[in-house]
């Protein structure tokens, strides 16, 4: 509810639409409420007096009111749609913009899956909730209030019945709306379980088949499916009760009204026609209440959505630029880490502990160490994907935090562990590295990344279209393109995060040679679990448990680092032996 309020300022530019919608709806409702009265007049005065002219006059009035009602109703839906669609489109735009400003830490805290849901489903939920608020939710209460007023003015004798019925009705609606919210969230949880199961089945179908777990999975799904059905049933059981209950209360109200009316008629203080009018208006009243309660339930369901949206919009972005950020023309690639500590959880469990080292321009740095020792985390600090908890990092003598983020990152070529490509042509993907890249640039980058070979085999070459997730390329091909995308930037700092795992040794050595040839002045970081990939590095950092335990050239490390010797033994020992 609160978060809904926070989103409310998005309606401001469209406030006239949002006001016009309900106003026009008032017109439709007024015409609807007017009709029984006109009919009454036709019958009571026109027919009773055999006045054909009067009948025709009021008949035309009836038509006119119906027509005005049409205009009101249609206009209302136009403006309600305008307001709601504009409202949600603007929020969606800002939401996406906000997300693109997120730091990796921010993204981690939500999870990408959740962010996708927020931008798509949650927005859709608040949009339909607003459109209903502006139309049905206005119409229902208006019909309700209108008929209460009419009963008050024309059938005051029967008003006590309303006084008794209305609180009961409102109480029921309140209770059920509340209850439905809880039940619905149960159902949603079961639904999520079904969806997760499905998604995993599709993604892990090979594992399921390989272990021949089909019948096990069927049984599992059967269990979840039954749970969903059970929860759905118990929720529906409650939800379905509301309408018959409301109808019952109103009908008992009608019975009471007739009884009260009969007594008054008997006393001669009331006309029979009033009873009829009372019944009609009671029915209209119930319709109004029921449609509003129905809509209210749907609106309530959108509150959590609004909450999540506001949560994203209000997320404090933890990586920001200083007031006067430095935007260098070129990044040269001297790097210094000074006592850097880092943790993902910020609860003191450091992933990186007291890192200090310096790198000169044009050096090649190898980073090696066991899985989970912090290698990837270390190099993610360089393009400022994360900020260190304490300590400082300098590039070309300037503190990372003083750079403009765009300027810093444009000097860095990054090849992540997972080769993420986007749907579109190979050309578009390469241009991701450099917008103004020429075909020659692309060819040479592809050449360096040893990607030319397979690109040339494609019929459309650089125009070859990649599907979402580049499922039409092999793992090795994706990694090559991912490298080419980084190379094309001609960066001052190049970072390869274990990015050759799916590439065969021959191609890998070709890439390394190309690197030395093409980027002699670029500072290169290579993370690898293979000593062979980093053996020629100017400096090798050996990491274990978040710390740099040794650093030096291959030869130095062989003589003074036990861990490095260990790794070398396991990787090279036998090869050397076999060659002897």
């Amino acid at each position: 509810m609160n978060s809904m309020k926070k989103l409310l300022h998005y309606i401001k530019p469209y406030r006239w639409f949002a006001v016009l919608g309900p106003i026009l709806m008032c017109i439709e409702v007024a015409m609807d409420l007017l009709q029984p009265t006109i009919m009454q007049k036709i019958i009571d005065e026109g027919i009773a007096n055999q006045d054909n002219a009067y009948v025709i006059k009021l008949g035309l009035l009836l038509l006119l009111s119906a027509f005005i009602g049409l205009i009101g109703g249609a206009g209302s839906s136009v403006y309600a749609a305008k307001a709601a669609v504009d409202f949600s489109s603007d929020i969606r735009r800002d939401l996406y913009k906000k997300i693109t400003c997120f730091s990796s830490q921010n993204t981690d805290s939500f999870g990408t899956g959740k962010l996708v849901t927020i931008v798509t489903n949650d927005i859709a939920a608040i949009q339909s909730s607003l459109i209903m608020t502006l139309r049905v939710f206005v119409r229902g209460p208006l019909l309700f209030i209108g008929s209460v007023i009419i009963v008050w003015t024309t059938a005051r004798e029967l008003f006590p019945v309303l006084l008794a019925a209305i609180p009961i009705l409102i109480l029921f609606i309140y209770y059920f709306s509340k209850k439905t919210g809880d039940l619905f969230s149960y159902v949603q949880k079961a639904m999520d379980m079904v969806n997760t199961k499905l998604q995993e089945t599709l993604a892990g179908i090979r594992v399921i088949k390989a272990f021949d777990r089909q019948s096990y999975e069927k049984k599992e799904f059967h269990r979840i499916n039954n749970l969903l059905t059970k929860r759905n049933l118990s929720a529906e059981q409650v939800i379905l009760t509301l309408m018959p209950l409301l109808m019952f209360v109103v009908n008992i109200g009608i019975v009471a009204g007739i009884w009260l009316g009969a007594i008054k008629v008997n006393e001669g203080t009331l006309q029979v026609g009033v009873i009829l009018a009372f019944i009609n208006y009671l029915n209209i009243m119930m319709n109004g209440l029921m449609s509003s309660s129905h809509v209210l339930m749907q609106i309530t369901r959108s509150f959590p959505s609004a909450g999540r949206i506001v949560q994203v919009l209000e997320t404090e972005i933890d990586i920001v630029e200083t007031d006067y950020p430095v935007s260098p023309k070129k990044v040269f690639g001297t790097i210094e880490f000074k006592n850097v500590y880092f943790s993902y959880s910020k609860n003191g469990e450091y992933v990186l502990k007291d890192l200090s080292f310096t790198v000169k321009e044009g050096e090649t740095i190898g980073i090696i160490g066991p899985t989970g020792s912090g290698k990837s985390t270390l190099i993610k600090l360089i393009p400022r994907l994360y900020d260190p908890d304490s300590g400082e990092i300098f590039i070309d003598g300037i503190n990372l935090k003083d750079y403009s983020i765009q300027g810093l990152r444009s000097g860095i070529g990054f090849v992540p562990q997972k080769a993420t490509l986007f749907s579109g042509s190979i050309e578009e993907n390469l241009r991701y590295g450099k917008d103004e890249a020429t075909i020659v640039d692309m060819e040479s980058a592809a050449q360096s990344a040893s990607a030319s070979e397979f690109i040339e085999e494609l019929e459309a070459r650089f125009s070859h279209f990649l599907t979402q997730g580049a499922t039409n390329l092999s793992g090795g091909q994706k990694q090559r393109l991912s490298m080419a995308r980084a190379f094309i930037r001609e960066p001052g700092i190049l970072i390869l995060d274990d990015s050759t795992s799916a590439i065969d040794a021959i191609s890998e050595s070709k890439v390394q040679q190309a690197l030395n040839r093409t980027f002699p002045t670029t500072t290169v970081f290579i993370i690898s679990s293979k000593i062979s990939s980093i053996i020629h590095a100017d400096k090798i950092l050996v990491m274990e448990d978040g710390k740099i335990v040794a650093n030096g050239t291959h030869e130095e490390l062989l003589s003074n680092s036990e861990l490095y010797q260990d790794i070398y033994q396991t990787q090279q020992g036998r090869q050397v032996a076999a060659n002897e």
Partner: protein
């Protein structure tokens, strides 16, 4: 849509509707309805009860107004106060019964519908389990997901609401028609005259709006696809500073969606007021004609009043009928998509007299095997080799050369195009597929873990394994060390896809899973590619125990891990170009030798 030969023109439109084109109409409506009926028939008892409840509650709904008329005319106007009380008690009873039956009616109908879709969902899921990988290659996950979720859900809505409402509307309408004709036939005809007008305009509006809806659906699909892709590739977007470009592209799609959504919502908003207008028009006509007739002495005021009440009861449900039919129609189209999957014939099935396997010795023979995924581009050409029981076979070669495909054929994820594969001297198609797979353990290239605890994930290899056995397997796979350091140890929850573990840790778990399965043949497809070399050495030790006496296949890029293989097959462009032991191949100075040297030279 994942086939490289047919790029998706819309690019990112992967939404459920985007895939199936604009027509939301079922191709074979009757057939689909019959099949839905097959499912509903299982709830026959409840269904009949529900229909009965609909009839009763509709009739009670018709009696109410009639009774009120009687009470007013014959008791209140006659000032019969005790008679009025008696009749009012009767009315209260009818209203109570009406409430109860309305509740029963909707509850039984929801029950029928929920159980129907439960069966349908289960059957669809079961079908997924029987289909071969070829099917999953052809269909995107999003598309299949939406069939199980959206399509079945819309069928649920339609069954639980529209069926009983259509029924009660028809009943109500016929009841009211009878009542109207018995009161005054001229006015009855006047009232009925409105119906075609109503149907006509609704149809027009729907036809007019469907264009907008298709457009909106397409834009929505595109937007969702874009969001999904750009947010999951978020790190790359920021690293390459493409936030602005993404924002621009997003805005463009967002504006398109704004436009099409606006049109669709506005036009669909017209239906309500228009019908309301026609309603009122009808009422006006009734009153007008009725009034003139009354003046001429052909009818009475009371009849007009009755007609007004009845026509309200009449028009409202008829209004809803059109939207109900619409809902029903799209539900049938959805159901058809569900049945489409059910009708897929799995291409890998057991031979009619397939033999079961107690245990495998482990002799494997590929003779002249050719394979292609799409019958045009050959992936494997004339693969021919023999493996004796207990041997360790290494498959090496550049990326994309077809190593994994050979394994896929051995597991019968796909069947060979020509040639045959023999296991213990028998063609593998002669074995029961499930037995075959049970006897072959595999650690796949991309490790997949399910959400659940680490314990459960390892146990996936052998469901009846005790906790102790699971831990043993984890120790053998060198996974125990990292697991015991996790706060919850073996009870640590793995999130969907296992993203809270590193790639290396996931591979260790996958290896433990395969170790636990304790199969006669073991396949390691790049099983240790993301594991650091020290840990890898540890695993190798464990694995070499495991592989002793078992036939094993190893695919590896790091050639050092396979030097001791009994046979090394060098695969290049789908062909075996060299085969032999490590030393033999080195002496040959061929492809293997150069591959080996390049790894060695680097080192």
């Amino acid at each position: 849509m994942n086939k490289p030969s047919a790029p998706n023109i819309i690019g990112r439109a992967r939404g459920p509707r985007g895939m199936h084109g604009p027509a939301e109409k079922a191709k074979d409506r009757k057939g689909t309805l019959l099949r839905i009926w097959d499912y509903m028939e299982r709830q026959k008892g409840t269904l009949i009860a529900s229909v009965l409840f609909v009839i009763i509650s509709t009739l009670l709904g018709l009696i109410g107004p009639y009774l009120i008329g009687v009470i007013i005319d014959q008791y209140i106007i006659q000032k019969d106060i005790t008679g009025t009380l008696r009749m009012l008690v009767l009315l209260a009873v009818i209203y109570t019964a009406s409430a109860i039956f309305t509740w029963l009616q909707s509850f039984t109908m929801v029950r029928v519908s929920l159980h129907t879709i439960r069966h349908l969902r289960q059957d669809l899921y079961d079908k997924f389990q029987t289909l071969s990988l070829r099917f999953f290659d052809k269909h995107s996950h999003g598309d299949l997901m939406s069939r199980v979720t959206n399509d079945i859900e819309s069928l649920n809505n339609s069954l639980s609401q529209s069926v009983s409402q259509i029924l009660s509307t028809v009943l109500m309408a016929s009841g009211v028609t009878i009542a109207m004709f018995s009161l005054n036939w001229i006015l009855a005809i006047t009232a009925l005259f409105i119906i075609p007008l109503m149907i006509f305009t609704t149809k027009k509006i729907i036809k007019y709006s469907s264009n907008y809806f298709i457009k909106r659906q397409r834009d929505l699909g595109e937007l969702n696809g874009f969001v999904e892709e750009s947010i999951s590739g978020f790190e790359v977007v920021t690293l390459f500073g493409k936030e602005k470009k993404m924002n621009l592209e997003f805005s463009e799609i967002n504006e398109r969606l704004r436009h099409s959504a606006m049109n669709a919502d506005m036009v669909s908003g017209f239906v309500g007021p228009t019908n309301n207008f026609i309603n009122n028009l009808g009422l006006g006509l009734l009153i007008g004609i009725g009034a003139v007739m009354t003046v001429e002495g052909m009818t009475t005021v009371g009849v007009i009043a009755a007609f007004v009440t009845y026509s309200r009861q009449f028009f409202r449900p008829i209004n809803q009928l059109s939207s109900l039919f619409n809902m029903f129609q799209s539900a049938i189209a959805g159901a058809e998509r569900v049945f489409e999957v059910m009708d897929e014939t799995p291409d890998i099935v057991d031979h009619y007299n397939a033999v079961s396997i107690d245990s495998l010795k482990g002799d494997v023979e590929f003779s002249h095997v050719d394979f292609s995924y799409d019958n045009s581009r050959p992936i494997l050409k004339n693969i021919d080799f023999q493996v004796k029981a207990g041997e360790k076979i290494a498959l090496v070669g550049p990326t994309g050369s077809g190593k994994t495909t050979i394994i896929n054929l051995l597991m019968r994820f796909y069947d060979v195009t020509t040639g045959e594969i023999k296991l213990d001297g028998q063609n593998i198609t002669k074995y029961k597929v499930s037995d075959l797979r049970k006897k072959i353990g595999i650690v796949l290239q991309d490790t997949f873990l399910f959400s659940g605890t680490i314990m459960e994930n390892i146990r996936y290899g052998l469901l009846e394994a005790s906790d102790k056995e699971v831990i043993e397997a984890a120790k053998m796979a060198s996974a125990h060390n990292f697991i015991k350091h996790l706060p919850q140890g073996y009870q640590t929850l793995i999130t969907s896809g296992g993203s809270n573990l590193s790639q290396g840790q996931r591979q260790l778990l996958a290896i433990a899973r395969a170790i636990l399965a304790d199969t006669d043949i073991l396949i390691l497809d790049e099983a240790t590619s993301s594991i650091d070399t020290r840990t890898e050495m540890e695993i190798q030790l464990g694995l070499s125990h495991l592989m002793e006496g078992r036939t094993s296949f190893v695919i590896a890029h790091r050639l050092k891990t396979i030097e001791n293989a009994d046979q090394i097959l060098v695969i290049h462009n789908g062909e075996i170009i060299e085969k032999g032991k490590h030393e033999e191949l080195l002496k040959k100075k061929g492809f293997y030798c150069s591959m080996y040297e390049s790894q060695f030279m680097l080192g």
